[in-house]
Symmetry: D2
Subunit: 350 residues, 4 copies
């Protein structure tokens, strides 16, 4: 049973069906197809404002393209120290921006601390052209720690950034989990709170390979199509990416899948937190748990066939991710396994 | 009926089935899955030598990554004036190489002329560090003009290049059409002829979105995985790309599909060449025709519902592409339409 | 006697004196000094309009920075096939633009042919985002062939470019020679003719290491200071570059030096063109001659101790450059040497 | 009186004389001159090993080129949080490396803490290709805080780095001050301690604009000449940079100048540290002081005409830099001014 990552789960059946439907005949290539054309309206409806949508196939591409539109090569992007763009994308943001610098900020549970951003911005402006230009911030919703920003927190960060003429990017690799958690309109958590450009993720929540750059500010659109092309991210059979996205946001599928994943994570969190010796390191507000455990418990669960990542940072930390496909039975089995091995470990340690 | 491009054709049923099969459960992400692991052996078998395979989802990504492994930022890549890397990738090679220069060479039918390459190389070395370093050549098989290099021609270009310590890249967006045409072993047309690194295309020949960088020279492997990642081309659900490639090369599917497309193009070429006023501009050795026609004929065929691209260059040129899915009936209908409108045009023009 | 290049000549005494004067005490670094501040007004006076001036120390830096301000990474810069930016800067324009493509155009005597530019622009727009964006043209005055554009020719190229919303850059590595030749106001040959941004050269005409980016369009200023810094071209002791430029344009020194070099080249051209078997390949309108000669004559002159470059292109071509420091006696000696050896060669060849 | 920066001091007379001497006639351009040729041997003698020397005109260029030779675009360079490459070069390292990431490390007085580097390296290797590749470390000698690494500290950092196959770069913008301080052979503090590539500074210590990349490892030489060219850093009249460097290292001038600057800083430090309320924030081991002062004292000294930088960080911090040209009288006057105004401030505060 796989708790390694939500991107290891199968593709949702609705998405597979959409792919099959999209294959009924020939259609124009490179995004000149009917499905891609429809997406513009569908995403504009979803976000209650006119947006520009650029489908891509990885979150890294969506992030790097968004940042390239937001920061010049001589710019700085402020982000969380644990953000995906800083730690897991092998310099893709630096590549696509042409050499901008990521400035890592601290903050609890993967959320950028407002004061940390304020301090960082206050420290700029002393060295003239020797300093890169503060250009953008990037925040991740849900965060890398499985937490969710409150809308007001997003708005406060965005307001501070906009006051300094920075652009505001949201890495929404798990945006569905956050919207499902907050129960808000997607607009409330994005442009109404000050987000200028968004990486809208679907792959971690049931798609095969489908993400989108969603642009809320018209002046960030120009050049994006060509940046996507020169990144090698304009698919000839784009219609199959668009078909995934279309099915994903139709009839609330994206939120239904995310709600399932979130519920599974809550169930697991409830079970885990009742076990002595298991410590949840972050609030479980999406579909990820970070748990500190005795070594024996970790090895025991692994020995029982549960798959998960041992996480860098505090010793004995594991990450447990629940996808939309997680079943109650599997979760209960994991809890039981942990309880069993925690006991053993406790015995040994005591 | 679509003669615009082979990448507008539907996905082959065998590929759709492979995608469905690949979705039977969870699997590890980012290429750590079983299908991707199998690919290494399967491609090594296909090419009769140990290769390294890196699946990606566009030909542009495959080309740009291959060139980035082959040329430094201060280097030159020699290519045909009409090559896709030079005319259709919106500076992706410049982007991925970090700023290398493409040097366009002439040659009939999309094939680089050996003498042109010789001359270009002979003109280097006069300006020391002021000149970028000759680093690689890139040739396209089948060519952009729908022709195919003879193996000896590839070998001669590669020998010249290697004599100057350049690397040799093949853009194989339509490699299947070329292999099917030549009836050779894939190895004969690639590494045995001097190819160091290959963009192996599948999308234009029945896949949904699947290409691969195939590396024949071990010293070109190092760094490629990280370059792919920072380009945003390491898919989390890589297994679905690998599943396409696996099905594509299994049981000779790739060559069967290409043979169908080539046969369709030959049928169309036979019909077209029998019509007065229609001129084939290039030998039809793959699945593409470039035909010069009276304006009335072009408009007439379009009016009959045939879709195709009017091509830049000589006035009255159209490109007609036959995919694996082209049916004899459609081809015959297109020929009949042309014959009909050519007559009308001839009347008008006379 | 050195006819290799004007950049091999000594520094003009007026420049050396300016450097000595600039060393009278401490001054603020990184361009916050008094001399650099004065330059803004001095160059605005010189060009009869308010300009922004950015001193640098090489023509390549001036060109690459100018182009980076004029073209996005996904853009195209049109230039002459023999232009310095395309043939002699080891991909610096590609580097600074972040990967833009240079599109080489033909034209006699190093001047971009208007029809060639028209054709190149007319061939764009067929491939949508697959094509890089036409972004700028760059023309060289005086040209690499030692010719000079007429003001009307510059205006015609600029008008065509502006009609397509391209920016217009002038590589003025030898701008002084051109202004001296045309006897026009610097404004007439630059912004009044449509130039948006200029590489203003001084090093080839008596400075030690001093060039400047002169920006005529305000919207091309933003970001240039930081681009210069991240290129490593913001000198801490900038005052010594500015002091050179100040002395160079004060009291018409730059034009006086250029006039001397031009006169020397004319004298040499007169002498050479009177010799049977010596062919001037380009009009001599600045300070450079390109002469086709019998092999024996070339070797003979070299044997007499004259230094010059054998030039790629037509066999038997040499380049002879006259700097401001060329003396009549040296020129006459070179003519005499040529006459002597041409004779010998003629005897041998006859 | 200027205590702002050593790069605001005049050029040393010996350097001015060398420039004048270098202007005695024509010489070959782009580094093919006699002075540049001599440098190779002179620097090899200075460092007691065969080195390759590449003159440039800014420290940023030297650093960025060195790092580009040491780290791939998908790499990481470890450096001190306050290092010039990270805080003052407007992303030049990111630019020249093609997008590598700088990883900031802590450490007292501008010295990288060995344990911090160890921890950072230990935290790598968990995310496969998602992580950039640890590629190089860069340390600054003397440090940005005016301290100097002991040779053993350099050796320990280099050994750790080499054990992980990283390259080791030294930013020697003030290397002369460090060598003068340690009284060691330049070799002892560089390659014998494990430095692979060095930015050798001269501009802050009496040159006009002269730095050099000094390469100790032969495998880091290839490509550097072309990288310099495409950065716009190959001067046509290179001989004037080389002439500066030649004079600078001849007869120990560089160490004599540095010793003067260091002595001046010591004198100033002695005076300052005797004043109540003035706190030296870092050991004064080179030619820089960082002093925390009452606000009144700072304003008072400024009012007396002393120039210096108010420094970011702890409130009330100023930086006082002594160049080779600092005179005892000026230093004593500054101390007197501080004593006078500190008293006033103390009165006000008490």
């Amino acid at each position: 049973m796989n708790f390694r990552s939500d991107n290891e789960a199968p593709v949702a059946p609705e998405i597979m069906e959409a792919l099959a439907r999209a294959n009924s005949g020939a259609d124009h290539s490179y995004g000149a197809d009917a499905a891609t054309a429809r997406l513009q309206g569908q995403f504009s409806d979803l976000f209650e404002t006119e947006v520009a949508v650029f489908p891509v196939i990885t979150g890294t591409a969506a992030n790097a393209l968004s940042l390239a539109q937001s920061a010049p090569p001589y710019g700085v992007v402020y982000c969380h120290r644990e953000s995906h763009i800083h730690t897991d994308e092998c310099n893709a943001p630096e590549f696509y921006t042409g050499g901008a610098k990521l400035h890592a900020l601290d903050g609890a549970h993967g959320r950028i601390d407002l004061a940390a951003l304020k301090d960082a911005l206050a420290a700029t402006g002393f060295h003239g052209d020797h300093e890169p230009e503060p250009a953008a911030i990037s925040l991740t919703q849900a965060t890398e720690a499985g937490a969710v920003y409150a809308i007001d927190d997003i708005a406060a960060l965005a307001k501070l950034a906009h006051g300094r003429r920075l652009r505001v990017h949201m890495d929404g690799a798990r945006i569905a989990n956050a919207v499902a958690r907050l129960g808000c309109a997607p607009a409330d958590m994005t442009w109404r709170a000050g987000i200028d450009i968004l990486s809208f993720g679907a792959t971690k929540n049931g798609a095969m390979a489908a993400e989108a750059v969603v642009v809320f500010r018209r002046d960030l659109v120009d050049g994006l199509a060509r940046r996507r092309m020169r990144g090698g991210h304009l698919l000839s059979k784009m219609r199959f990416v668009s078909a995934q996205l279309e099915a994903y946001i139709a009839d609330g599928l994206w939120l239904a899948l995310a709600a399932r994943a979130n519920r599974a994570a809550s169930r697991l969190a409830d079970g885990v937190s009742a076990i002595a010796g298991a410590t949840l390191l972050h609030p479980v507000e999406g579909n990820e748990l970070f748990v500190q455990l005795p070594a024996g418990a970790i090895d025991g669960m692994a020995g029982d066939g549960f798959e998960f990542h041992r996480w860098p940072g505090a010793e004995g930390t594991v990450r447990l991710v629940c996808s939309y496909a997680a079943r109650d039975g599997d979760i209960d089995a994991l809890i039981a396994s942990l309880r069993r091995h925690r006991g053993a470990a406790a015995d040994i340690n005591s």
